[in-house]
Symmetry: C2
Subunit: 185 residues, 2 copies
């Protein structure tokens, strides 16, 4: 059993998973998420109930920074991105950032309370993720401006040239007063 490998980051609970991608004449095959193996390397048993796909036609599409009230396991079915995360939870690591260039051989587990975003580096990039709560229309969750000066993400493509939704052009700056409290269990 070839286990994927896990790397920690400066953001507690945010971990990078290197997958066992098998390339051949046809393309590739990968176990993108495999419950038993993910538990064996130390990921939580997060119980996905929803799988979303966002497809990005062009290099430069930039989405985020969204702090959804659920855990996410994110990866790519094809293409390449620059991923950026900001810890939005109250506590010592509030505001800590982590960035990573990702191709189809990498996945990232993003715990609840960590802001998630990405910039597309290749036309035709398909981003896929698993979450452990159902989204509902009208649900509101904190977002952070992509250009926030204190997070200071070093986007490979200048935001002035990026393709960004209207919603994501109006997100607020980092503010400790809005830090996310731990979930009551």
């Amino acid at each position: 059993m070839t286990l994927p490998s896990l790397e920690t980051t400066p953001i507690p609970g945010l971990v990078v998973v290197r997958l066992d991608r098998r390339d051949d004449d046809r393309g590739f095959f990968k176990e993108n998420w495999q419950r038993e193996k993910m538990l064996a390397i130390g990921l939580p048993d997060f119980g996905p109930v929803q799988n979303n796909v966002s497809f990005n036609a062009s290099r430069g599409v930039t989405r985020g920074i969204h702090t959804e009230p659920w855990d996410k396991f994110i990866s790519l079915a094809t293409g390449r991105i620059f991923g950026a995360w900001v810890d939005m939870r109250e506590g010592e690591t509030f505001g800590t950032t982590f960035t990573l260039e990702m191709d189809t051989s990498v996945a990232v587990f993003v715990p609840r309370g960590v802001g998630n975003s990405y910039q597309v580096l290749e036309d035709g990039t398909a981003y896929t993720y698993l979450v452990n709560e159902h989204w509902r229309p009208g649900i509101a969750y904190p977002a952070l401006a992509l250009e926030d000066p204190s997070a200071a993400i070093d986007w490979p493509i200048p935001l002035s040239e990026a393709i960004i939704s209207e919603k994501d052009q109006n997100n607020p700056a980092l503010d400790p007063a809005t830090a996310i409290a731990p979930k009551k269990t």
Copy 2:
């Protein structure tokens, strides 16, 4: 709540799901699988434990026909395929086939005991699926020859021009003696 819609097929339990794909300037977003909504439209609560991705570099790649011992929920993150299924379960519908051209707005639920295959219609097609049992190295399951004369799948691209793994070039013909018995529960 916009529900996906479900269509039955001549193969019992094999169903086609039309997804709510939301296109915008960036590309698209879709809930590819959403447990609650899938239950609401009548899919079984199949409990996925593994998510696989097979990426296909070129039009013509053809994979199958594989009868895995688990249920699958299959769809595309990008591209287009011709999907073909053959009922391999013992009973009246043994040998029944169903085919469907799929883009990113369609998914198919494939119950255990139904042979699964596809031919890639566009370069760079990413196929993604959820299954409810873990695959293990060395696990053997029935396969069926892509060119089986009795299944007689009408492949859009002639198999002589297709890209097929060595393993899939050596699969047997349809044989009722190897029909799959119902799973003991």
